[in-house]
Amino acid sequence: MPGVTHVQTTINGEEVNFLCEPRQSLLECLRDVVGMTGTKEGCNDGNCGACTIIFDGRIVDSCLVLGVEAQGKDMTTIEGLATPEGLHPLQQSFLEQAALQCGICTPGFIVAAKALLDAEPDVDEARVRHWLAGNLCRCTGYDKIVRAVLDASQKMK
């Protein structure tokens, strides 16, 4: 393979090494190279948020980041939220509030909402709606997603 680069990075607290071409997005590297398919592709041009990850503390659309840019970075993906003891409160709230229908946008929403609640434990509906405006959901009309995030914020206090 021409021009393959070795990337050393941290995903969900574990050191991960992979090889990638300069043209491969981080999303593609996560899904097809590392084999972590929890991060979803909905548009591949930064407009749907299904591929949201936390990248050095900021939420990004991983389709807009190149794989080589992950060198030395610290990432959290949907696979990093649950522990052997159980689900993250956001994951639990999404289940209890029926905040998913098809579920394809769910990993992106949960990761984006985690970044919000980590930074701002006290949120209201308007703040949640503003924060999640970069994530598209076509099934729910967002009502139950917003409720789930508010519910999780209460549980996490």
Partner: protein, 763 residues
């Protein structure tokens, strides 16, 4: 701050249930919130190759030649296919007989034959060891085109001198076929009573023309298809679809294989709304796999999804309603012309059936045209045909009420369809819940509230979808620990596993958690129609109930054998098996399950059903909007969705259907449209430019579930997925009459169109 939408539900059914009506956590939930669930694009197989599809940049052109030699020679490429690789290319018209046109359209839709008919039309495909190499290779394929004038509008397409998409397509009209070829594939009429007399008897007649733009279902997961054609001739397909059996049918059809040579495994599906019934990629992946000798995965880009899957049709409509001064309708009429896209098959007939589905009309005339144009072939989108027709009808009904000074809910109640109402096309309604929904709307705090200050308006509209049945299969095996494995052919698109498991648990008298549902492939269960048509909870639920009944009778038989007593001396009630004459002899479901292994083996109940009695679905929406009169932008201030669910099996997922449908309707009303240039090229094929509602654009969507039990289902269930998208466009248009003082006759009601209407230019 955040109200609980469940509190306002109106339960009119008398029956109490143990599991049905509760809100348990869905069985597939943990996998979906942790990223473990395997959707179509997540599949990885040993030796998997990646494919890309070459698509037409032109909306209408003859293909003079395709040269794939450079692509074939490109390093890393494993196979290249074109329409020549489809069996249709080597079958003669004589061989195919009456099946010729159908197979031609089906095959050419998969890979273009002699012409490309829309921008995005697949021409060729490549498999390679990685997707980037495949993409490089498709750019090396050279195609020579002879450009033809594109036909881009439904009314232009119907003109006598319009360029023809298909020189062998003739109009089917009332049992006759036209001699001249035409872009009009079908002309349909339904009629009841005497509309001429009816309109003559009216005090008020309102007649208006409407236009709606093509819109997309907008599911977040792009289409995908992975196939492996083994050397023994067995073809396996893994795909995101609303119906594994539908994919099996279409793949086996265009590849001319017996259905049993094709096994389709439905992966988790990331939204469909009707758009994931057509198999766009699966047959191409199969052809590539056959040539490559390895499994091949194809995934659409978002642009491909917009340009080459199936949007809902753009339409032209004319609606006329006559009423007495008291508001009683004397006659109604709707003329509908729907763009089918490149091949026949728009939902114009459903639009006709739904147009006046909310009303009891003695005199009605419905006419529909199915018209091909150089745009992607349309597909189903949630209550296909009804949202467009209802936008027109409910706008005119509102104007009639306006002119007569009658409250918009009152005029709808006065004319509402109810049990015994005969629809224009013939069928007579069973027990339906439209009146109850309208009364719930009239009594709702929203309808009684003040709208607040600003340029605000309130709109109301109702909507109808007939709901469907079709075949479903379910099989249930009792494990030795008392847990029941339930397998079904219905894919789970938004809580199906939960709602089917609830109905099974209710029937067996055991806990919801004791049913373990799994969606299986086409080799593992009997034929099951798609998850769509608002049929699944109804029909697959029915299959689960019947399979559970069989389990019950087999459990009784087993207990009788253990107790050495006749079967009719054993009864089954609430999950307990009881010896009738000896009260000491009783076993719980779990206790008997433990003994199955040693008393004759496992117990399996199965059922294949096609129930009749799907109850019609009705929804009523209330909306408050605010319009900025300087920019023309309309915002949703408050929204209440009311709908008859018969019996809400899992109320949270019923609310979810209502909210999701309402918000898709809000997008359809205000933002969403396919925008084409004069060459027929879609200019907004991304989520940036095709603007779907975000969380920031919306308030909470309040819901009221009305439960008027459907007498055609054991638990009173009626489908809920589709009626929810029908009312919003008209409700919002009617609200804009209040907020901006104008009646809108074209979707979407963008700021520009609203401003034009205010200034009189839009008239």
């Amino acid at each position: 701050m955040v109200s609980n939408p469940a509190e306002a539900n109106i339960v009119l059914s008398e029956v109490e249930f143990d599991v049905v009506g509760k809100r348990p956590i869905r069985p597939d939930g943990v996998d979906k919130v942790t990223g473990r669930a395997q959707y179509g694009a997540d599949i990885n197989l040993a030796g998997l190759l990646h494919g890309k599809v070459l698509r037409s940049p032109h909306a209408h052109a003859r293909i003079k030649s395709i040269d794939t030699s450079k692509a074939e020679a490109h390093p890393g490429v494993r196979a290249v296919v074109t329409a020549k690789d489809l069996p249709f290319s080597s079958l003669s018209k004589d061989e195919l007989g009456s099946d010729y046109m159908r197979l031609k359209f089906a095959s050419n839709h998969v890979l273009a034959g002699d012409k490309v008919l829309f921008k995005g039309h697949p021409l060729a495909a490549v498999s390679a060891n990685n997707p980037h190499v495949a993409e490089e290779a498709i750019n090396l394929i050279s195609v020579e085109y002879e450009l033809l004038p594109p036909v881009l509008d439904v009314l232009d397409a119907m003109k006598d001198d319009a360029p023809l998409l298909h020189d062998d397509l003739h109009t089917a009209s009332l049992g006759e076929t036209s001699e001249k070829p035409s872009n009009v594939a079908a002309h349909l009429i339904y009629e009841t009573g005497d509309t001429e007399k009816g309109f003559a008897a009216a005090d008020v007649v309102v007649e208006r023309e409407f236009r709606t733009a093509a819109v997309h279902q907008g599911y977040i997961e792009p289409h995908n298809g992975t196939a492996f054609w083994n050397v023994d001739g067995q073809l396996s397909v893994w795909t995101s679809t609303q119906g594994a059996f539908a994919v099996r049918s279409s793949v086996s059809d265009v590849l001319r294989l017996p259905v049993s040579k094709v096994k389709v495994t439905p992966m988790e599906i990331g939204g469909g709304f009707g758009g994931k019934i057509t198999a766009y990629l699966d047959a191409i992946a199969a052809l590539l796999s056959k040539k490559s000798g390895a499994p091949v995965k194809l995934v659409m880009s978002r642009t491909d999804v917009f340009e080459a899957s199936g949007p809902a049709p753009a339409t032209w409509m004319k609606v006329k309603v006559g009423a007495t001064k008291d508001g009683k309708f004397t006659a109604v009429q709707a003329n509908l012309a729907f763009e089918a896209g490149a091949y026949p098959g728009s939902p114009v007939m459903q639009g006709m059936l739904c147009a006046f589905g909310c009303y009891d009309v003695a005199n009605g005339f419905l006419e529909g045209y199915d018209v091909v144009v150089n745009k992607p072939k349309t597909a189903a989108y949630r209550a296909p045909g009804s949202p467009q027709a209802t936008f027109a009808v409910e706008s005119v009904v509102d104007e009639v009420a306006d002119q007569l000074g009658i409250d918009p809910i009152e005029i709808r109640l006065l004319n509402a369809a109810k049990e015994g109402t005969r629809r224009i096309e013939g069928p007579i309604a069973n027990r339906i819940g439209l009146v109850e929904c309208l009364e719930a709307a009239r009594n709702h705090p929203h309808y009684k509230s003040s709208m607040g200050s600003g340029n605000r308006g309130r709109g109301v509209a109702c909507g109808y979808w007939m709901n469907r049945s079709f075949p479903s299969s379910v099989s249930m095996t009792v494990n030795y620990d008392g847990i029941v494995s339930l397998i079904m052919g219905s894919v789970d698109i938004g809580g199906t596993r939960a709602s089917i498991a609830q109905q099974a648990a209710e029937t067996l008298g055991i806990a919801y958690e004791e049913i373990k549902p799994t969606v299986v492939d086409t080799d593992s269960i009997g034929y099951t129609f798609i998850t769509g048509g608002s049929r699944t909870c109804f029909a697959t639920g029915w299959a689960a109930i019947e399979a559970a009944e069989e389990v019950k009778s087999l459990m009784v038989a087993r207990a009788a054998r253990i107790w050495d007593t006749p079967e009719d001396n054993v009864e089954y009630a609430s999950g307990v098996i009881q010896h009738k004459s000896d009260p000491e002899l009783r076993m719980t479901f779990k206790e008997l399950s433990r003994q199955l292994a040693t008393t004759g083996g496992a117990i399996t109940g199965s059922s294949n059903v096609e129930p009749t009695g799907e109850g019609n679905g009705y929804a009523v929406h209330l909306v408050d909007v605010e319009t900025d009169l300087e920019t023309g932008k309309t915002s949703i201030v408050r929204f209440t969705a009311i709908q008859d669910a018969g019996k809400a099996v899992h109320p949270s997922y019923v609310e979810g259907q209502m909210q999701g449908g309402a918000v898709q309707g809000i997008g359809w009303a205000l933002n969403e449209e396919y925008f084409f240039n004069d060459k027929g090229q879609m200019m907004n094929s991304s989520f940036l430019d095709y603007r779907m509602p975000t969380s920031l654009d919306l308030p909470m969507i309040d819901t009221v579930i009305v439960e008027v039990a459907n007498p055609g289902h054991p638990y009173g269930v009626r489908g809920v997925g589709e009626a929810a998208i029908v009312p919003p466009m008209a409700a919002i248009a009617n609200a804009i009459k209040g907020s901006a003082g104008v009646r809108m006759n074209s979707l979407p009601m963008t700021p520009g169109k609203v401003l034009d209407a205010i200034s009189g230019e839009g008239k």
